[in-house]
Amino acid sequence: MRNLTALLFSGGLAFLLMVIAWQFTLGDAPMLIGAAILDNAVKEVGAANLVTSVVLGYRGIDTLGEIAILFTAATATSMVLGSFAMTDEASETEQREDGSILGSSVRLFFPLLLTLGLYIIVHGHLTPGGGFQGGVILAGAFFLPLLAIPGRSINHGGIALVEGFSGAAFILIGLTALFSGQAFLQPLFEHGVIGHLFSAGSLPLLYIAVGLKVGAELSGLLANLAGISSHAAEAEK
């Protein structure tokens, strides 16, 4: 009965949403603020990647909120899963062998991933990608050994340090603008030559902060989830 109702209403919802969607014409975006941004972003922000100029410039406060959400989620997760110490205990009890293929490939991949991640972060204002994407790759780099090499644990103190300071750096850059008489999160510095690595003012700095923050949060999150789940499996046995 419940399922039937749910199905019926899901069908209804789908139909109604399609009715709504059908009133749009594809590719006919009104481009109200979009056009304004496309016109002015190069002048105002100076980043080759216009999405970045939106993410860090026009809607920088959203990005701040976003990393705050990630941070909150990480904090809440560790609150739910307990203290960091538990993961360490769990890893001490691990007795599994280190698979040599996995181990060596991880050792191979780690620096590569690290480099790739950093590259994507640093070039966020020029090419597709940026702090978030790069941050995820960084987190992947740190998470791989955890999966592949048993007994390996992540340095949570380090993560806390990175996540704290990178988040703070983002806000401090914003506050610097505020205290120098501009608006909060207003891009600083000269724009430079568009398309160059050192351009777009403070945007690359912000993206580095975001990248490190995201990387740290995600590694912390993943480590927490991984650690506690192996611990739980242990407890069930």
Binding site: R2, A6, F9, G12, L13, L16, L17, I20
Partner: protein, 623 residues
């Protein structure tokens, strides 16, 4: 700073003082003194009752741009007099021996005095209201203050108090709806503004307002479908509190209804509105509500076996007379209604106090456990006798005058059916008060009550004074009729022409001085015959025989259980508890609804409702 300011401030002070002095031994006397001072201040405004213009309080508050102010006119003064007098009587009663006893029983007499003062303050505030908003504030304060009084006793009282507050809140909500409707019409809460637009209201609006206000204020009065809360709640209130509440508290509903329905909307409008498909006008409907309010509770009272319940049920019925009288255009009727407020308060207070005195001595109010106390507590008996004569509306007591006025106006106005209905109600009253005095004071004395004595003077004096009032205002009704006439004038309805001894008007004449003289002359003749014959012999109360056999005190020949068995044989099947049934059905329905609503919160998958809501609201807009 005029007398009204003084009165209100003193009243507020009394609340605070008695609130802090609860634990004091002398809290009762303190409270009595404070109430006495308030009475004096009220007397300072006595000019109101003899034609002085209304007194306005010199302070006013403005809330949300709406001024609240307070004033006293003859009507307010009349009600305030009753309030303060009954409060003073109750306070003195509770201050002395009764309070000590109450403390020993585990009660807190200081708290009772506090509640009394709080009620008085709330009522004065209501009576002094100078606009609709202050009226409502006062109204709510009265409601909640009387809740405090009702739940003092704890136990079942809490349950009854809760029931009361549900009714009261429902009423308050109706009143508030009416008030905000008025506000939306006039843009203010002033009486004058509403009175100004009242003639131009459409019939539908008049009906709405009338129904809202009659329901809202009628709940407090115990008008018929909403009367269930009253008897239980009053009966469980500690004795002096019950006397006070019974005497005046419900009349606040009448007061507010007078202002809104009779003064502001006007009876003329009600009479002109026909109920569709009938020959009734809206006014007639209300009068029949009043008539049924007289009959049903009175006959319910007859079946009660607890003296307090019997009195409390009565109180509901008497409210019907007042409303019926006041709904009459004739000055006789409205004067009767107003005077009945005064009269009823005087004897109802005494009756509750006497019953409390009986409880104080015997520890029971069960009419099957009492009897023959007349020799033990003769003064109490006398006072109860005076008051039940008043309650039954028999000369020479004051109750006769007000009921006569009402009956007379019913006849003059040509409403025979209503007249019959109210006479039937009076019949019930007589039967039930006879049951009260018979089962308490007459008949066989119980052995365990042989040693009890009359109650102490601290309890006796308030009762004596009030009984004297019952008698004097019966003998010289002109005293009260002066006030009543001024109150009528303040309400803007026709004024009764009266003399010191009664009424002298084209609609009818009544001279109580003459009636009383004849009556007491008759009594004197009877007494003369009795005492000159000198054939009587005094025997002990337990010295009885029947059919040639001596009866010991162990033989129960006091006929109390299933009183009026013969009558009940005929009318007993009419007692069906329909209203109780309606009330409990309503309660069950709410409970059922509540269970249904809780199902949402107990559903194991609340996200389903999100899906439902999303689909339905999209359907609403996009579909």
């Amino acid at each position: 700073m005029n007398f009204l300011d003084g009165l209100l401030i003193l009243s507020l002070l009394s609340v605070i003082v008695t609130g802090f002095a609860q634990k004091l031994r002398s809290a009762g006397w303190l409270s009595s003194v404070l109430l006495g001072l308030q009475c004096l201040l009220l007397m300072g405004m006595a000019g109101l009752a003899y034609g002085s213009p209304a007194v306005s309080s010199s302070f006013s508050v403005s809330v949300l741009g709406q001024p609240l102010h307070w004033q006293f006119n003859a009507l307010s003064w009349f009600f305030a007099l009753i309030t303060l007098a009954s409060a003073l009587a109750s306070s003195v009663y509770a201050a002395g021996a009764w309070g000590e006893d109450y403390r020993l029983q585990g009660g807190n007499p200081g708290l009772l005095q506090f509640a009394l003062n709080l009620n008085v303050f709330a009522m004065l505030l209501l009576l002094a209201s100078g606009d609709l908003l202050s009226l409502f504030v006062g109204w709510e304060l009265v409601s909640w203050a009387s809740l405090l009084m009702m739940v003092l006793a704890g136990g079942a009282a809490g349950r009854f108090g809760l029931r009361y507050i549900v009714y009261a809140t429902a009423g308050a909500m109706a009143v508030m709806t009416g008030l905000v409707m008025i506000f939306q019409l006039t843009g203010s809460f002033q009486f004058a503004d509403f009175a100004a637009i009242a003639p131009s209201l459409s019939n539908a609006q008049v009906v709405t307002f009338t129904l809202l206000f009659v329901f809202g204020f009628g709940v407090k009065m115990g008008l018929l479908p909403f009367h269930l809360w009253q008897a239980d709640a009053y009966a469980e209130t500690p004795g002096p509190g019950a006397a006070f509440l019974g005497a005046i508290s419900s009349r606040m509903g009448l007061f507010a209804m007078l202002i809104l329905v009779i003064q502001l909307i006007g009876l003329g409008r009600l009479i002109n509105i026909e109920v569709p498909y009938s020959f009734f006008s809206l006014r007639d409907v209300l009068m029949w509500v009043a008539a049924f309010t007289i009959i049903f509770p009175t006959f319910t009272a007859m079946r009660q076996n607890d003296a307090r319940l019997l009195l409390a049920w009565h109180g509901i019925g008497q409210g019907g007379y007042m409303l019926m009288g006041l709904l009459m255009v004739n000055p006789l009727g409205s004067a009767g209604g107003l005077m009945h407020v005064f009269n009823y308060a005087s004897y109802q207070a005494v009756l509750f106090l006497v019953v409390t005195a009986v409880i104080y001595r015997t520890r029971t109010a069960d009419l099957n456990q009492l009897g023959g106390l007349v020799t033990r507590m003769p003064l109490s008996f006398l006072m109860m006798l005076i008051c039940i004569i008043g309650l039954a509306g028999i000369p020479p007591m004051n109750g006769f005058v007000s009921k006569w006025l009402i009956y007379r106006s019913l006849i003059v106005e040509g409403m025979p059916l209503l007249f019959v209905a109210s006479v039937v109600g009076t019949l019930g009253t007589i039967l039930s008060v006879y049951k009260l005095i018979h089962n308490t004071f007459l008949g066989q004395l119980r052995l365990e009550h042989e040693q009890i004595r009359e109650v102490p003077w601290s309890m006796m004096i308030p009762m004596l004074i009030l009984s004297a009032v019952v008698f004097i205002t019966g003998f010289l009704p002109g005293i009260v009729l002066d006030w009543v006439a001024s109150a009528q004038a303040a309400l803007g309805i026709p004024v009764l022409e009266h003399t010191l001894g009664g009424v002298e008007s084209p609609s009818g004449n009544l001279d109580m001085i003459w009636i009383c003289s004849v009556l007491f002359g008759g009594f004197a003749v009877g007494a003369l015959v009795f005492y000159s014959g000198n054939k009587s012999r005094r025997v002990h109360q337990l010295d009885n025989y029947a059919g040639g056999h001596f009866l010991t005190a162990d033989d129960r020949y006091h006929y109390s259980n299933n009183f009026y068995a013969g009558l009940m044989h005929h009318i007993g099947h009419w007692y069906r508890g329909t209203f109780q049934w309606l009330e409990s059905s309503l309660g069950s329905a709410i409970s059922l609804l509540s269970a249904a609503t809780q199902m949402l919160f107990n559903s194991f998958h609340p996200a389903l409702f999100l899906l439902l809501a999303a689909t339905l609201s999209l359907l609403f807009f996009a579909g």
